[in-house]
Amino acid sequence: MIYSLVGYYSLILGLIIGLSLFYFSYKNFNNSNILDSKILSFTFLQLFFVVISFLCLILSFVVSDFSNETVFNNSHTTKPLFYKISGTWGNHEGSLLLWLLVLTLFIFLFLVRTKNQPVKYKILTLVFQQIIIIGFFLFLIKTSNPFNYIFPTPTEGLGLNPILQDPALAIHPPILYLGYVGSSIIFSSVLAATTLKIISTSWAVHIKKWILISWIFLTLGILLGSIWAYYELGWGGFWFWDPVENVSLMPWLALTTLLHCILVLEKKSSLTSWVIILSITTFTLSMCGTFLVRSGILNSVHTFANDPERGLFILVFLFILIFLSILIFFFFHKDNDKQSFSFFWLSKETSILINNWFMMYFLSVVLIGTVYPIFLDVISSQKISVGPPFYHKLIIPFLIPFLFMMAIGPKLKWIKSQLEDKIYLISFLIISILLAFLVLKNFNQNILINTILISSALYLFFITLRDFFVKKYKNISQNIAHFGFSLLILSILFNNLFASEIITNLKVGETFENSKTKIVFESVDQKKEQNYNAIIANFSISNSNGEEDRFSPELRIYNQPVIATSEADIKTTLMSDKFIVINLVQNQDFFNVRYQVKPFMLWIWLSVILISFGGIVSLLQKRS
């Protein structure tokens, strides 16, 4: 009760402070020798109020205050404390409050951490960021107030969807949001810098930090979501080209491209238009992600409850922001880097530019695949979905030159370059092809395309591996990230090519046997926990080498809400994952059993961690 009141009025106060900041900014802007201390303290105050509001919501969840509608809809007294807290952002209202929290946090950090930049630039960044913040305040208060009051107070809540009761998904939204919302600060400062015409190498050095932070969090956020989908959804895959996954991949692609562009801007002060456009695109895509996920337009396996009015609000807001940024881009931006565009065809600039085009291509494929069904539904009310084959067919062939470019590009010099050490470049190519062929020679399906793919990934792998040991000029962060990427592609390829799967229906005591695997369904146990009952099935699975493993996947029936979920049992080893999941079809004796052997699963996760580690290294280098 009291928490809801405090939380709600803190939000209102935060909004008022946001509006007053416009006034202070205006005053300070015309007389801008130093940054008005009021601006800094008011920004802090705004952050403070949003934090208070957020804490109030968490406390409402912790004490199970069911007079609060959000708590009532998403919590339950029997839920473990950890999931009561994580339930705060496991729902629409709470997750938007988290958005707001991150928005205000970033602008505050930005004002504090930014030194050696013009005061006018800081103020203008603040103004643009406040436009976004105020938009979100209004959105939150008007359409999705987390502190709605219900009377009479219910005695028990409706509970949190059990598949969200999971450690990975508890930290997935905050991490992902730090990435998503981090792009807002890039957006604001790019608009400010464009307006003031101060886009230069020193600005690039300054903004690169923010891009890196946002990129690292986004990468890790996507990874967490992917790991969660792998073990919780029970399909044994890690990426389904599902619309909700795609909307997180699109900002990542744009942000990665931006990261490469900013390198050029930092060193050669060219590609400014690219940097501006990409910054705007990244943030727009993040907003679109929120819009698409929250509006209910997307038909996705990840869809949760939603509301059209909210979608409309975000859509209008999004249009205003895009309109504003396009206006600024065309009125203020003068492309004055014509002379620096005269670089030789074989140079680092060209390779980064080509990388950009590839990334833009991948981005448009994902965008079209995600948006086309919505578009068709609106114009012809025909329901379609675009499946993984679409993405595979359009992305995989282009991955081959992309991987080669990733291997050779970083070796080139700025402006004009020659390929040195041709011998090892070519010898590595031959080794890669031979190795790929050797691995796949007993494999009769699609041998050509797979050999080429694996060769190109191996090529990148060897080249980056070699660079760790011998290099004239060190760029260790790039090296780690590219090495991680080659490892990722290799793991994904091997994972796909050599995975095996058995799906069967078994009764207790029955045995399934084929040439390679023997599955014995030994017994069933029951377990009672505070918030769910579980059926534990015990399996013993042996392969043709005589190795035997024991598995006990669970089928949990949660009490509030009453939902059954399957908990997979996964045996992870360095080289492969064994994954088993069961399900009970209603009122039948048969258990639906799915057993998968997934090679290199661990390496997919590790390589993504390695990629983001590259980003962290780069960030630390800049600091020192």
């Binding site: 409850a305 494929v365 329901k383 379609i384 359009l394 078994l506 059954a564």
Partner: protein
């Protein structure tokens, strides 16, 4: 007549233009080949010919229609006007139950038999795929 630079730039623009057009064609073509249409049992009944491409069928799982043996699950999808028999031999999602909404992906054998290769899982017990809602709403 024209300088080397102008020619080079012209060539560059031309290459970019051609690449753009080619990729657009490529994307549109694969889109055409890879989309999966959604149909309700009633729409399937009205089909004049059985297409070989993959489709999705959605509706409710009919009460008392699920039967299971060691390698197959079979059930009936209904939109309360028409029905279709579905056989499926893969993993079944948690929220698959009689009287609940379902979307099955697979191939039509004829107007009454559908062979599913995937049954789509949904996260939320109250959630109904928009297609199913619409298919049921038409009754």
């Amino acid at each position: 007549m024209y300088g080397r630079k102008v020619k080079l730039r012209f060539l560059l623009v031309l290459i970019i233009l051609i690449t753009l057009i080619l990729t657009t064609i490529l994307i549109l073509k694969s889109l055409e080949e890879n989309v999966i249409y959604f149909q309700s049992p009633s729409e399937i009944k009205l089909l004049t010919e059985i297409d070989e491409s993959k489709i999705r069928v959605g509706g409710m799982v009919k009460k008392n229609s699920i039967s299971i043996n060691s390698n197959e699950v079979s059930f009936v999808i209904t939109d309360f006007k028409n029905e279709i028999n579905v056989t499926y031999s893969g993993a079944v999602p948690n929220l698959f139950a009689e009287g609940k909404g379902v979307v099955a992906e697979g191939f039509l054998k004829d107007r009454n038999f559908f062979s599913a290769i995937k049954i789509l899982a949904k996260h939320d017990e109250n959630y109904m795929p928009p297609e199913v809602k619409e298919a049921l709403g038409e009754k």
